[in-house]
């Protein structure tokens, strides 16, 4: 469970997040939508402290993570992160990408890590790409590999930062399918996305962000079917 209380983030004079308070429950799939520059990605990146919040508190399973003396590496193992640009390690094979962190950060024996790595590759449909370097994978395959890599740490929560934005249109579907499977298995997921159809289908709840605040939130039916806020209406009229 993630609890965020009055979270703000400033880059110099720029106020990117202006007080976010939100709770994401276990097994919940939450999609964050909103215009570019609304702070969606920053909000997501604050949750695993890739950005340091300016003020406010973030709790993961009741433990505050943005204070001194917190072992951030331990917290991050509970949080899987998937990036827009994949950020696969280009000098390692697909399987090594998946096993490096379990082996090095979690001290899991290599054979064991490789066995669960192979299972994860199977799950994302890349079993025949284990020995291949990321350079020769397609965009969709890269992102599926990146999802498998994040899952290898057995996270409780998965964070997705615009996972399909860098993909060619024909590859979006395969990545969304993997994410859907994950959602059906009960994974807690926070997804920053521009895929409104996906959000509508998969999300338990949709957050609409604008200018560093959560302007409106509700079920997909509420947000897409009957938005209340003017800014939500305005945004949806442009993207739907």
């Amino acid at each position: 469970m993630i609890e965020v209380n009055n979270l703000t983030k400033e880059f110099g004079k720029l106020k990117v997040l202006r007080g976010i308070t939100e709770t994401i429950r276990e097994n919940e799939v939450v999609c964050v939508i909103g215009p570019s520059g609304s702070g969606k990605s920053t909000f997501l990146r604050c949750i695993n402290l890739l950005e340091t919040p300016t003020s406010g508190e973030i709790y993961i399973d009741g433990e505050q993570i943005n204070k001194k003396d917190v072992d951030i590496n331990k917290i991050r193992k509970k949080l899987g992160m998937v990036f827009q640009n994949f950020n696969l390690f280009p000098h390692m094979t697909t399987l090594e990408n998946i096993t490096i962190s379990p082996i090095r950060a979690n001290k899991i024996p290599k054979a064991e890590a490789e066995k669960s790595g192979a299972e994860l590759l199977q799950m994302v449909g890349l079993q025949d790409k284990a020995g291949v370097f990321p350079g020769s994978l397609s965009g969709g395959q890269k992102q599926r590999a990146a999802i498998a890599r994040a899952l290898a740490m057995k996270p409780e929560i998965m964070l997705f930062d615009e996972p399909t934005s860098a993909l060619d249109p024909e590859m979006v579907g395969e990545v969304l399918q993997v994410m859907k499977d994950l959602a059906h298995r009960g994974m807690t997921m926070v997804i920053v996305t521009h895929e409104m159809g996906f959000a509508r289908e998969v999300a338990d709840r949709v957050l609409f962000m604008d200018e560093g605040m959560i302007v409106e939130q509700g079920t997909p039916e509420e947000i897409f079917g009957n938005p209340q806020n003017e800014r939500t209406k305005n945004f949806l009229s442009k993207v739907l």
């Binding site: 695993n48 890739l50 590496n73 331990k74 991050r76 193992k77 949080l79 899987g80 992160m81 990036f83 640009n85 950020n87 696969l88 390690f89 280009p90 000098h91 490096i100 962190s101 090095r104 950060a105 979690n106 990321p134 350079g135 020769s136 890599r149 994040a150 740490m153």
Partner: protein, 224 residues
């Protein structure tokens, strides 16, 4: 014709010393350079300043002057304080001078290599629960090493040529061998032609190798 071969042979007889100094100096340069590079990237400002000054001093003065300071100046300084010291072995002093000199250049190479690795790589590694040291060791440094390998090759080539100035502190390497023979035989043209040829016989294959590594890297960049 025979005199040219003689010139070549004389110059070639200094190659072991030239290579010994260059290889040892580059190894020292890489080890010291890594420390200097990390020092220059430190989060502590005084540390950054100290290492920046180190790099500036070494890059801002000629190697030959540095050699004179260490080989002749330094023992004289110690003697003026009553400490008796002189270099028994000019080769040892040369390795030290070239190694320290090289560390300044290598530090810049390493620093730019580390900074050339995409920021997302560190973020991905940290988001997977690796600590900073693990992320550097398994993710950043291996990629930086590939990036800097051609530049390190070039540093080796330029240091190899620079070692010619060590003849001024009486190190009997390639150039000094030729100078000694030329001054005694007056065969200046065959002597120094031979010198040039010996350097070229190392630098040309090496620079081909560097070019090959650069091509390989450009290819792997394209397929990223």
């Amino acid at each position: 014709m025979g005199i040219y071969l003689k010139g070549l042979q004389i110059a070639y007889s200094g190659i072991a010393v030239t290579l010994q100094i260059t290889i040892s100096a580059v190894l020292i340069g890489v080890a010291l350079g890594l420390i200097v590079a990390l020092g220059k990237m430190s989060s502590l400002k005084p540390v950054r300043i100290v290492f920046s000054v180190y790099v500036e001093l070494l890059r801002g003065t000629p190697l030959v002057v540095q050699a004179l300071i260490i080989y002749l100046g330094f023992p004289a300084l110690l003697q003026s304080y009553g400490i008796s010291f002189r270099w028994d072995d000019a080769v040892l002093a040369s390795i030290l001078v070239c190694g320290i000199n090289s560390s300044a250049y290598v530090a810049e190479i390493i620093r730019s290599g580390l900074q050339a690795v995409d920021k997302g790589q560190m973020e991905a590694a940290r988001s997977l629960g690796m600590n900073h040291i693990q992320a550097m060791r398994f993710i950043i440094v291996p990629q930086a090493f590939r990036i800097i390998l051609p530049a390190l090759g070039n540093e080796f080539i330029s240091l190899l040529k620079e070692t010619a100035v060590l003849s001024i502190i009486a190190v009997v390497e390639v150039t000094r061998k030729s100078m000694l023979w030329a001054s005694q035989s007056f065969e200046f043209w065959p002597a120094y032609l031979g010198t040039a040829f010996v350097y070229l016989s190392i630098t040309i294959p090496l620079s081909r190798l560097v070019a090959y590594m650069e091509r390989r890297m450009a290819q792997s960049d394209r397929s990223k």
